[in-house]
């Protein structure tokens, strides 16, 4: 069977859990920005947790089904409709051959995951179907989906009527709190700037995508005086080009923090002050532009506890969906 794309939405792309192993060549892991939501969507329709889904940003696509299938939509609150009839988020439902799946306007969050029983079966590139448009890898010929595309679906059998319990549906909070482990080039900042970064309220800037999320509104960060090392460049925010961590926070010129996400550039010449802890990376993918955000300082023990809490939550979903 295939999915006929009548309207692709805004920037709907095929994503799975990504292609780790090529970051040393500048090819990022990619994959769902909200991995928890993608796993839940797949579980709901009886797919392996890493099957490829559609990641819709801000706006849903319109899709005609060429065969019966079971579908689930998780992540952002983007209510689905089948031939115009409303369906629940975080729950599996049937779409019959010839019916059209479409969506209401976005109510909350930023990215919805649309899983179809059997999973999207486009050709993998470097072990993943995730779309990485800059490197023309995965997706449909290396790009996001477009009107007229006919997406192949694998064979699978889902059960309609399954639902992720309300308490386990993780949505974004406002204002959002993103936990940060200081490190990397943290010591480049003056103590005043270090404190200011955590004291100030920031807002998600319109420049927020799979590569990185930019933030505005806090005070400019000041650097510890030094003679710039050879090869770094003259600006105090410059370093000799090095690797970037996923979730690392760079602040070019000290003005606007950028958090690198799943399609991160693998390295560059800007200092980084630390990184968002792994447990909070999914949350970033659900932040809309202009959302107020506080960065919260944590240590490694707190990062480990948060990671464990996320793992436990996923285990609870697995148990609930059996």
């Amino acid at each position: 069977m295939t999915l006929k794309i009548k309207n692709p939405g805004l920037a709907t792309s095929i994503q799975d859990l990504g292609r780790p192993g090529y970051f040393h060549l500048g090819i990022p892991m990619g994959g769902a920005m909200d991995r928890f939501a993608l796993r839940c969507a797949n579980m709901l329709v009886g797919n392996p947790e890493d099957a490829a889904c559609l990641e819709a940003v801000f706006m849903g696509p319109e899709i005609e089904f060429t065969a019966d299938a079971v579908v689930a939509v998780t992540g952002a609150h983007l209510p689905p409709k089948v031939d115009g009839e409303p369906r629940d988020c975080w729950s599996s439902f049937e779409v019959k051959k010839g019916q059209t799946l479409s969506f209401e306007f976005l109510k909350a969050g930023a990215r919805a995951y649309i899983a179809v029983s059997g999973g999207i079966d486009t050709p993998p590139a470097l072990g993943s179907r995730s779309t990485y448009p800059i490197g023309a890898l995965g997706g449909v010929d290396g790009r996001a989906i477009a009107a007229g595309d006919d997406l192949p679906i694998g064979s699978g059998k889902g059960t309609p009527g399954k639902s992720v319990p309300e308490a386990l549906r993780r949505g974004p909070a406002t204002p959002a709190a993103l936990r940060v482990l200081p490190g990397l080039y943290w010591d480049r900042l003056t103590e005043k700037a270090q404190n200011g970064f955590f004291d100030d309220e920031w807002k998600v800037a319109p420049e927020a995508d799979r590569m990185g999320y930019r933030f505005r509104g806090g005070r400019k960060l000041e650097f510890v005086d030094r003679e710039q090392p050879f090869g770094a460049g003259a600006d105090p925010s410059n370093i000799v080009d090095g690797c970037y961590s996923y979730g690392s926070i760079q602040v070019p010129g000290g003005t606007e923090p950028i958090v690198l996400h799943r399609d991160a550039v693998s390295g560059g010449g800007y200092f980084t002050l630390g990184a968002i802890i792994s447990a909070d990376m999914d949350l970033i993918g659900q932040l809309q532009p202009h959302t107020p955000v506080k960065f919260v300082r944590v240590d490694m023990d707190e990062a480990a506890a948060a990671r464990k809490a996320r793992k436990d939550m996923l285990a609870e979903v697995r148990a609930a969906l059996g």
Binding site: P20, A125, Y132, F230, C243, S245
Partner: protein, 291 residues
Amino acid sequence: MKTRYTYGGDEHIYVEMDDEMSLDAFFKSLSMSNAVRAANIDGVTEICPANASFQVRFDPDVIAPADMLARVKELESKAETAEKRMTTRIIEIPVFYQDPWTHDCVMRFRERHQDPSGTDLDYAARINGYDSAEAFIEAHHSQPWFVSMVGFVAGLPFLYQLVERDKQLEVPKYLSPRTDTPKQTVGYGGCFSCIYSVRGAGGYQMFGITPMPIYDPEQKMNYLKDFMVFFKPGDIVKWKPIDRAEYDSILKQVEDNTYVPRIAEVEFDLEAFNADMAGTNAKLMEALNDA
């Protein structure tokens, strides 16, 4: 040179061999990242060497961050005793300097540049003490370069020139990054040259363009059949200045898939290089004559 260890969140260890660029720092970082790879530590998912640093990504559910850090630190002594020598290759990369396409891009993003009234090349020539863009271009291509990092985006090489510190060319990055850079632009930032493997955002100064693709996700180019990324750390590059006619001719060969880059196998020994840079470089470049 003092090694600095730090965490990048709860999934990365970042090791900086030195805060300034040198081939010694590069070799130490490469040796140590190789030692981490050879140690085959459970939970390691990515090992990324950079110019004077490297990064290890790991799964903290498999190995605790503190244990991972301890394992990496243990390997530093191995890197210190590693030979600073490698069998590698020298590749001739044709460059059309002052080409119309990067020039057009240079002009489109003038307001983001340090010197909006000139071009990137005029600016780079002036701040490096050269009389003209032509003299600067000569300095850029007369001596070979060393690929000290691959990354930023898919397959982009960072190159460090094999000359004395006082002959190194240095330029700042754009004041604010551009949203566009033509594919295969030859760029410059800090002490590094680069080739933009794909079209996209960029902050390096733009000097010219190469007709030779260095990234092919479809793996159709005859020299990219085995893998989609052309460069790896340790490769040596000699820029060859070309004019429009030669650019067009190579582009035609690329389209017909008959273009074959000139490549020769060479030895690079850091101590020999440090003892006699001009002699080592002459030998490296001579190897291309037989390619």
